[in-house]
Amino acid sequence: MTAVAEPEVGKARVRKEDARLITGRSRYTDAITPPGTLHLHVVRSSSAHANITGIDTTEARKAPGVFGVYTAADLGVEGVGLPCAWPITPDMKSPQRPLLATSTVHFAGEGVAVVVARSAAEARDAADLVEVDYDDLPPVLDMEAALAEGATLVHPDLGTNENATWVFDSGAAGTGGSVDEAIAAAEADPDSVVVRRRLRQQRLIPAFMEPRSCVVDPTGEQITIYAATQVPHILRTMTAATMGLPEAKIRVIAPDVGGGFGGKIAVLPEEMLCLAVAQKLGKPVKWTETRSESLLAAHHGRDQIQDLVMSAKKDGTITGFDVHLFADMGAYNGLVGPGVPILGAFMYNAIYKIPALKFTCTNVYTTKTLTDAYRGAGRPEATFAIERMMDELAVELDRDPMELREQNWIKHEEFPFTTVVGLTYDSGNYEQATQQAMSTFDYAGLRREQEERRANGDPVQLGIGISTFTEMCGIAPSRLLGSLAYGAGGWEAASIRMLATGKVEVVTGTSPHGQGHETAFSQIVADQLGVPFEDVEILHGDTQVSPKGLDTYGSRSLVVGGIAIFNAAQKVIGKAKKLAAHLLEASEDDLEFANGRFGVKGTDKGLAIQEVVWAAFTAHNYPEDMEPSLDADAVFDPENFSFPHGTHLACVEVDTETGRVHLRKYVCVDDVGNVINPLLVEGQVHGGLAQGIAQALFEEANYDEQGTLVNGTFVDYTLPSAADLPSFDTAVVSTPATSNPLGVKGVGEAGTIASTPAIVNAVLDAVRQFGVKDIEMPTTSQRVWRAIQEAKGHATQETPVDTHSPGAGLGSIDPNNPQGEVQ
């Protein structure tokens, strides 16, 4: 008997990928410079909306080191449009998004021409010499104004600024009741209430730390594209389709990628321009953006207006929820931009037994940077809406907000539960996560302190915020994506190659950019094949190494990609068993596989998997009816999403004299199913929380009246620093997912989805006593202070949006008042 090895899964393994990254042995795209590389710089529009009346490149062409200055016409790419893979309705409008604007620019930052030079510095210098004349048109900035009769049209040929309107109605779908009836009934019933609110999701910028970059090398038989991307496989397919090249002639490599958060799922005009120039000049071409370019021109996220109507009985039972959104697409459709709000459509009922739900979303074009996926994509917006509304209902009914939630949520014994939108939640236990979180948080104790501070009129008031969230992730069942008109499937691919020396190469179609796939996937394979963790190598991110895949977004890598790897391992074991039985002269039925060894039951005869692998390699002796290989491929298409959930509790101190919000305590207990590596799960939750909290407190992309982004640098787009955040108290509980053999659920987006409403609920909880009803995000000192003053009937002065960012982070300095914010 072999001693049972300690399972790898569940161990807090430190990451194997760290060794390179902590010593500077990294390979981000900008470090890749093949000999002869030329550098491309984009001349960008300074105007949000204008006709281009002239482009003079004469001086730029004469500048030192310049190989060429090109407009779309010069490159012959006027007819090329960037793809949108998610036509959400059959009549969705799809304006062509050009690689470079030709006659009209539609947002500030849109490319107009490119300069190609020997060095990046020479390209930038020469770009300053390109003269572009603009004839300004009125910017289109406000979504509702954009939809009004007579509004300036972003794309006049479309005849409207409406991209599409997408509706889900549980009554019409037969998955639930009619919201209209529920609300009408509540309005007519003295024992019911109807709560109406308008909430705003501000515009955010993903702000991954590595600026986007690509190198297109045309010098081999295949054109190689190195790109700072989350989606090398999608980029390959889309490049072929966009540029009319055979897919087999394109190789995409995503080397080390410095964060993405949805911000790197795009197909970029710059990538296609580098390709066009590389083909034209026959030399490698590199583009690396500056941070300011990134904030200006890389896609943004969120930016919705949410009109919400909730009906409930006075005993607290919710009877209907009507959701109407306006979603700002910016100037064009992103790769999946129009579908981002739709990813939230099925989450507005969240963990609650809401009997009727209607979701209507109107996507609108404006002359702003386009929006697309940002961590959570649709689900943070949904969670914010429902969790804010639960608090609004609690206030309306004078109920404890947690008690009201519990009254309405799905009880643990009711799983699997089919919701009002027709999704089946496979597992969860909201009571368990909540009890643990409430106890760690000391909910009762903090409520007491809150009462005391109120009673004493303390200038620092306490607020407690709750978010009991769930989300759907692990994108996704392909058939379901098909029913939503998404342009691709949601499967994932894996291959396992058993090397002669007993080492294992695992190929995944997912494409990590910080998540720790190498470590987590190695743990899974080590357990399944019974090989040492160190013997497993995870390969990814190169379409010639990993030819098949759908990449990393939507918390899918483990729950889809990890299961593909698991399934491939089962196939390897099946083949190895057959060969082992042959070598041991035993029946397969008499073999058992444990700890990497095929043993003949009841004997001490057996073979280690490495011995079987060697036998397959030498192929001197193997059964007639098998190939001499143990390698296996698998493609996994999930049957359902995964539904992580959790209870998040925030305690804030609000200084009522300055409006400053101090996040004092944050506790969350998340159920992400079985945990492969607790260290990685904790890291994902921490990072997710920071981004969700930053939406609530710090970040917003601001445009002035001319349509110019006014906080497009890290000076004034206020990412939180270490000094702006507390330590979080995070924990996990586990109800295994039943939709996959590892029982895992996604974790990458959970923290971001959950945390934003917990913070805003807490801020409001502190200041409702003064009559404050809402504060838009980010809830900066200025906004909180103003809300308190206005509620008290004091006059406040409006601060123009273009003076500085509203961010309250320590990095935020008001140029008009560098000594600090004086209210």
Binding site: V14, R15, E17, D18, A19, R20, L21, I22, T23, G24, R25, S26, R27, Y28, D30, A31, A121, A207, F208, M209, E210, P211, D256, V257, G258, G259, F261, T290, R291, S292, H513, G514, Q515, G516, L679, L680, E682, G683, H686, G687, G688, L689, A690, Q691, T713, F714, V715, L719, S721, A722, A723, D724, L725, S727, F728, G751, L810, G811
Partner: protein
């Protein structure tokens, strides 16, 4: 062109550079020190932090010529004699990095910070690294790592972790 003589990670260099060349681009493009990264253009993010004459600087806000006659240490020169620096070790141990892009700058800043404050509180660490931005970790494990490294670096606690294979070649 201006001449710069500088020692970087123990090697002496003498180069002609354009006077406007920033130290970070000299390191990356001329010397191949691509372990030092560029994350912004306003000296806010700190990804490019290196040591110049023993103190941390954001190498995007220093001209290469300002380093003339000086000694620069980058993330690539921190592990010595095959041993990781305790701060590097702690970043791995405490899972203080995800995408790794802020990591070189964070480590260089943390080393400098611990030189000034060898036994910092959590609050002091948070303030000490606030000039370095991270978008992945929420900072919590970075703070833990810096405090963990402080313990390792106390007098009498030798750092004996061998560097990972391939380091220091």
């Amino acid at each position: 062109m201006a001449q710069v003589r500088v020692t970087v990670d123990g090697v002496n260099y003498a180069d002609d550079v354009e006077p406007r060349t920033l130290l970070v681009y000299y390191l990356r493009e001329r010397l191949g020190k691509t372990g030092t990264l560029v994350g912004c253009d306003t000296s806010n993010c700190g990804a490019c932090t290196v040591h110049l004459n023993g103190r941390s600087v954001k190498s995007c806000s220093v001209l290469a010529v300002q380093a003339d006659g000086g000694e620069v240490t980058t993330i690539e020169g921190v592990a010595r004699d095959g041993n990781l620096h305790p701060v590097q070790e702690a970043f791995n141990e405490f899972h203080a990095l995800q995408c790794g892009y802020c990591t070189p700058g964070m480590i260089m800043q943390a080393i400098d910070f611990l030189g000034d404050n060898p036994d910092p509180t959590e609050e002091e660490v948070r303030e000490g690294i606030e000039g370095n931005l991270c978008r992945c970790t929420g900072y919590q494990n970075i703070v833990r790592a810096v405090q963990g490294a402080a313990q390792k670096m106390k007098p009498g606690v030798p750092a004996e972790t061998p560097a990972p294979a391939g380091v220091g070649q």
